[in-house]
């Protein structure tokens, strides 16, 4: 077990310590599927609306989605950093860090100003994150993911651990499913978390909507393709072409058109559906 820093002695930018109230950490993979990213964002928004402070690590992927979601929900969010609070890592999250501060939240760190990213500092940061939160929610964590360290810390610190289920085919769900098997609380929506922190609250039931119902698929000939895409597992143009018995060149073109419209996203391994909330139509 790590030695924990004095929470009140953390280096901070912004409002610290924050106002009283429940705190929920949302953590997970730095390279999530669109599904994981959408879930993290939605949970954070709903928690923020219910007055819960969302804690995360200002990393790429799930962390960034959680902070963003909390800001969208008009809540305050706290980023626990593995660097000095004046060193935003990765730098691409600089704007997000500013927004967190502007939203009344804080950037905190147990490391002095000017500390650059060091691999060995991040596990300690994960412990701190668990320490200042009441609940740790893991959304998509592959085997060996840092989010699992946060979950482990939460167990040692007698904090609640919860996890979001995913696809059994996805390597990103191996860690979360492991937690669920070991007794972590199941998260299907923000209500599950609110029940644990003893906060009632309205959860907006605006489920994720597949792109074809968002008015993206203006051309009927594309619908066929979108319906064959997953929001978790990337499919290659070749996979879809085989399924639909179409030439791969044609499928590739259609997918590119959908990509231009923002209805699908291309990842290293292929294409996935881009999920959005109904009200947030682009």
């Amino acid at each position: 077990m790590m030695s924990l820093p004095d929470v009140n002695a953390l280096h901070a930018r912004g409002r610290w310590p924050p106002p009283e109230g429940p705190r929920v950490a949302i953590v997970g993979s730095r390279r999530p599927s669109p599904y994981g990213e959408a879930v993290a964002e939605q949970l954070a928004t709903d928690l923020a609306r219910a007055g819960v402070m969302v804690v995360s690590g200002l990393a790429l992927g799930i962390d960034a989605a959680a902070h963003r979601g909390a800001l969208n929900g008009g809540g305050i969010t706290v980023a626990v950093m593995g660097t000095g609070v004046d060193v935003v890592y990765p730098a691409s999250n600089s704007r997000l860090a500013e927004e967190i501060l502007a939203g009344g939240g804080a950037l905190v760190s147990q490391f002095p100003d000017g500390t650059i990213p060091r691999r060995q500092n991040f596990p300690a940061r994960n412990w701190t994150m668990a320490a200042i939160s009441d609940v740790v929610v893991v959304v998509e964590a592959g085997e060996g993911s840092g989010a699992l360290i946060t979950a482990e810390a939460a167990l040692h610190l007698h904090k609640e651990v919860m996890a979001v289920p995913g696809s059994v085919f996805s390597p990103l769900s191996v860690g979360t499913h492991g937690l669920l098997r070991d007794g972590a609380g199941l998260v299907q929506n923000a209500r599950d978390i609110l029940a644990v922190v003893g906060r009632g609250g309205e959860v907006l039931d605006d489920p994720l909507v597949p792109p074809e119902r968002l008015g993206f698929a203006l051309r009927p000939e594309r619908d066929g393709i979108v319906a064959h895409l997953s929001d978790v597992l990337a499919l290659s143009a070749a996979d879809i072409a085989r399924k639909l018995q179409l030439p791969v060149s044609e499928v590739l073109g259609r997918l590119t058109a959908l990509e231009l419209d923002g209805a699908v996203r291309r990842q290293e391994a292929g294409y996935v559906r881009a999920l959005r909330r109904g009200k947030e139509r682009a």
Binding site: P171, A238, V248, L252
Partner: protein, 503 residues
């Protein structure tokens, strides 16, 4: 007496005339060789002396002086052995050499004549200079006889050459090597019908072959990237005569030509290891630079596996040849230019561990490492690659079954038809179209232009990237046998831009 015969030395794909003068003079017993000869040429003295004696010919009794003119030209290689020996023997015999004839060959101590590199290059240059007859090692005669209008005398040993020159017994000239196109297409080493799945990469190969586009295959280890790359020569048309001669010239310099079948119609495929040096890949070496892998791949395919593992400066040096199709190298022995118009096929893992994006195995790299890895690949070189596709692992259960994909032959038919359209329309392949001609030869309708511009704006495409996508769209339309470039052709072209990330 003084005798003089002609020969030449090679400077890249050109030659320089060398006049070999031998003087059987008076004075102390000595064999003096002057005229800026490098080591191999200086050693000729010992070979020449022994070869003449072994051939039962008379070696000068007193002082022999051999001058290699012009004196300010550096002479390399062993091809001057034969002309030195012939000049020496003729000087002793008080005979004149035959007119407009040149000699090339290395001597063994017993007087037999051995192979020298670059005979084809020398022969074509000598022919252009007005020479009518060339004495070459018998093993290289077929190669020299590819050049029309030159009498090629195949020489097996020094004694028979002298017998020929003194009209005691003449040697039959080598018949012209007819560049007959092999009947029937030679079966390529690798056929697409051995590839499981990978429809996307197969299509990209077809587009690359049709338009002459460079291709990047990205995927985890064992996904079959190498196999795919090796299928490319099999869907390319065979070499044209002029192309085959260009390829043969480079091979001739390196001594790589087959003695019996000097002209090869199949496209070269070169796959240098990622440890290759700058000189090995681009060309180089001491004295006059030798052709590197890129020139060996001329008119064919250069396959760079594990692209990120190549030294950065070596990859940087690829930029000029990729752009202009030849490479100029300057060394102490002078500056030479070699042809290097090849199709580049590069393969890479998506991240250091190789499993990023794999559906079954999680990637263990931290994002910063993946970024750093991909940055090594990005930049100017990647900007010059038109097609980028992901290659995925084929599930093991699929590997056990018979692959169902098309074989190379029909793909090659489509590639040939698409290439013919391009050559008829613009005289070159789409990949070589300059932006100004692109506007003429590949006009876009409003919808296509809008799509292309939208993408360029969304992804922050460079002007070069924009033109590359446009060229690929032209090729996609050509494969469709369509003069008109439709939106779907543009969309397909954009589908091969794996590395454009949304800004």
């Amino acid at each position: 007496m003084l005798a003089s015969v002609d020969s030449c030395v090679l400077v890249g794909l050109e030659a320089r005339r060398v006049e070999v003068q031998a003087n059987d003079g008076r004075g102390d017993v000595a064999f003096i060789l002057v005229g800026m000869a490098t080591t191999a040429v200086k050693e000729a003295r010992e070979r020449v002396r022994s070869a003449i004696r072994s051939s039962q010919l008379q070696f000068p009794g007193k002082r022999l002086t051999v001058n290699l003119a012009p004196a300010d030209l550096r002479k390399e290689g062993s091809g001057l052995d034969l002309p030195i020996a012939v000049a020496t023997v003729l000087a002793v015999m008080h005979k004149a050499p035959p007119p407009r004839s040149a000699f090339l060959g290395e001597l063994a101590l017993d007087g037999s004549i051995c192979h020298v590199n670059g005979v084809l290059v020398a022969a074509s240059w000598l022919r252009k200079q007005g020479y009518e007859r060339l004495f070459v090692p018998a093993v290289d005669a077929a190669e020299a006889a590819l050049v029309e209008g030159l009498e090629v005398i195949p020489c097996t040993n020094l004694a028979s050459v002298i017998a020929h020159l003194t009209r005691i017994q003449s040697i039959e000239p080598q018949p012209l090597t007819h560049p007959v196109l092999d009947t029937g297409v030679e079966a390529a080493e690798h056929d697409l019908n051995e590839v499981h799945g990978q429809e996307e990469a197969r299509r990209a190969l077809e587009v690359a072959a049709a338009g002459g586009h460079h291709l990047l295959l990205s995927g985890p280890p064992g996904a079959g990237k190498t196999m795919l790359a090796r299928c490319l020569p099999g869907i390319l048309p065979p070499l044209e005569l002029s192309e085959a001669l260009e390829v043969a010239q480079v091979r001739s310099l390196l001594g790589d030509l087959s003695a019996t079948k000097p002209l090869d119609w199949s496209r070269p495929f070169r796959a240098p290891h990622h440890g290759v040096s700058m000189a090995g890949l681009i060309g180089g070496g001491a004295g006059v630079a030798q052709p590197g892998e890129i020139s060996r791949a001329h008119q064919g395919v250069l396959f760079l596996d594990e692209l990120a593992e190549f030294q950065a400066n070596v990859l940087q040096a690829l930029r000029q040849p990729l752009e202009i199709g030849r490479v100029a190298i300057t060394r102490s022995g002078g500056s030479v230019t070699y042809p290097a118009r090849f199709t580049l096929v590069a393969a890479t893992n998506p991240c250091p561990c190789g499993w990023s994006g794999d559906g079954r195995r999680a990637c263990r790299c931290i994002p910063a490492m993946v970024d750093a890895y991909q940055r090594r690949l990005s930049g100017p070189l990647l900007d010059r690659i038109d097609l980028k596709v992901g290659v995925r692992r084929v599930p093991l259960e699929a590997l056990a079954s018979e692959p169902k994909g098309e074989s190379s032959a029909p793909v090659r038919e489509r590639v040939l038809a698409a290439r013919r359209r391009q050559l008829d329309r613009q005289g070159c392949l789409n990949a070589q179209l300059k932006p100004s001609r692109l506007r003429q030869m590949a006009a876009l309708d409003a919808a296509s232009r809008q799509t292309l511009e939208r993408w360029a704006e969304q992804r922050g495409l460079t002007a070069r990237g924009f033109h590359r996508a446009w060229r690929v769209a032209r090729t996609s339309a050509d494969l469709d046998a369509s003069e008109h470039i439709g939106e779907r052709h543009v969309l397909e072209a954009l589908g091969y831009r794996l590395n454009d990330v949304a800004a």
